[in-house]
Amino acid sequence: MALDVARLKAEFPLLEREINGNPIVYLDSASTSQKPFAVLDAMDHAYRHHYANVHRGVYEIAELATAEFEKARRKVATFIGASDWRELVFVRNATEAINLVAYTWARANLGAGDAIVLTHMEHHANVVPWQMLANERGVELRWIPMTPEFTLDLSDLDTLLDGAKLLCVSAMSNVLGTINPVRELVAAAHAHGALALIDACQYIPHIATNVAEWDADFVAFSAHKLCGPSGIGALWARLELLEAMPPFLGGGEMIRDVRLDYFTTNDVPWKFEAGTPAIVEAIGFGAAIDYLESIGMAEIRDHEIKLTEYALDALDNEFGDRLKIYGPADIAIRGGAISFLFDGIHAHDVTQVLDQDGVCVRAGHHCAKPLMRQLGVPATSRASFYMYNDEHDVDCLVKALIRAEQFFAL
């Protein structure tokens, strides 16, 4: 069933505001999504009615806060198909989730002579932690290249994975929109005795996800891209991995016992959650999951497929070869992030003109500088969609782009 976008839009208070006298057209959900009343109200309610620290007090509101916090964990775990809620570690964001794996599992298991396989389309969050490890330990980094069709070139995958200990790959590129064949990649990694870490930051908000079907080992994502608050994200990992991994940050909550000369760690997942967690953000994360489920992930994906197709057609009809799109043409293997560039006009300039019309798109390297180098451009503009965007938003984008092209005409 088609989404009632007008109704959905009305559930996001920010989408009612104006920019420069124009109604806002928010097309930057790949960067971060807007928040519905359901999430704002759940967080507001938590602060007003049962805010206390978790896992500590025995008084009523402390118990309520703890129950809500842990309920949120179970919701998130179930949402991604985890079989056990203990496999879901709350972290600040996807970046921290990946760093957690780099600092604990990888530093306990990798050394000089070991190899990690990455791809040319990774976000810096899935590049720099591994470069830091490589610099420190002499671990080798290998790269899966890209085809001219903006997909991963898997022709040398077996050679790249030969002797590797870890494969790190994004399920969906934040620049190109490309959806990568996660199941096939995980299977290939496992066949070579490597583990697989999936950066699912762009995927989970838009497509129903099942980590068990992926058969992945680590999955990282952020709440703020799926209508949840900033400041919280999750690392999912297989239980036996989490149990064997050394702790990450040290402090309260992550310990079982502390003496002057030693400490023992708490059970999974709290072993990785030192200090007072983002309590209300976790509750907001849970509310965001409820919100997505109330709409339906299949419906969201269907809507975004249609809208992305509409946008790709509209851009092609209006601008043809003058506007280059960096991403797959095949809608089946792409999400709703569209990177583009006018011939001869810098992304920053285009985006500035769009802002005058209230159209919010991102310009820049999208935290993927290695990819931008492969594409041979310093920056692109990127429009990205979510359930609250409709064809009118795309029409506004096209209109604003016409203005931008005229303004900078040579």
Binding site: N20, G21, H346, A347, H348, D349, Q352, V353, Q356, A363, G364, H365, K369, M372, P378, A379, F407, F408, L410
Partner: protein, 160 residues
């Protein structure tokens, strides 16, 4: 509300469309310095040929990619310092940065910019003043200052 005309003055678009002093110089004798804007990925290379005896900028060439603001600012910078003494080039750098930061320092409550005005005093910025509109678009200030910071780094490297 700051409009597009504040940002994109005609003279800026002119420098953007026909940038001055584009190209490269042979290194050595020329000196090459690269500048990056980590925010947007823009890159600029400044080639400097300094006459040791007279301490003047004998020649300057620019290569790299960037938005209209960074390209225009780079082009204007190259025009402004070519043939000038190194001391004058440094004065221009200070003045241009003051022009770009008066707004910022006001935002941060660091006084009224009077100290910065001293840097501007008596310096003829000419075309460069067209870039003043950039301060109304704070994220674009880094685009405008990229070339100048790179020039400064180049002069510092040559001196040491």
């Amino acid at each position: 509300m700051a409009g597009l005309e504040d940002l994109y003055r005609e003279i800026i678009l002119d420098h953007y469309r026909s940038p001055r002093n584009r190209g490269e110089l042979v290194v050595p004798p020329a000196h090459k310095t690269e500048g990056f804007n980590p925010l947007c990925g823009d890159e600029v290379s400044v080639y400097l040929d300094i006459d040791e005896a007279t301490q003047t900028v004998r020649d300057i060439k620019i290569s790299g990619q960037g938005c209209s603001i960074s390209q225009a600012s780079t082009s204007m910078m190259s025009d402004a310092v070519k043939g000038q003494s190194v001391a004058e080039a440094r004065r221009l750098i200070r003045a241009f940065k003051a022009l770009m930061s008066i707004h910022e320092s006001k935002l941060e409550g660091e006084g009224d910019g009077a100290d910065l005005a001293a840097d501007l005093d008596g310096v003829r910025l000419g075309d460069l003043e067209a870039l003043q509109g950039v301060v109304k678009f704070p994220v674009r200030i880094k685009c405008a200052t990229l070339a100048w910071n790179t020039l400064q780094q180049g002069l510092d490297e040559i001196n040491t």
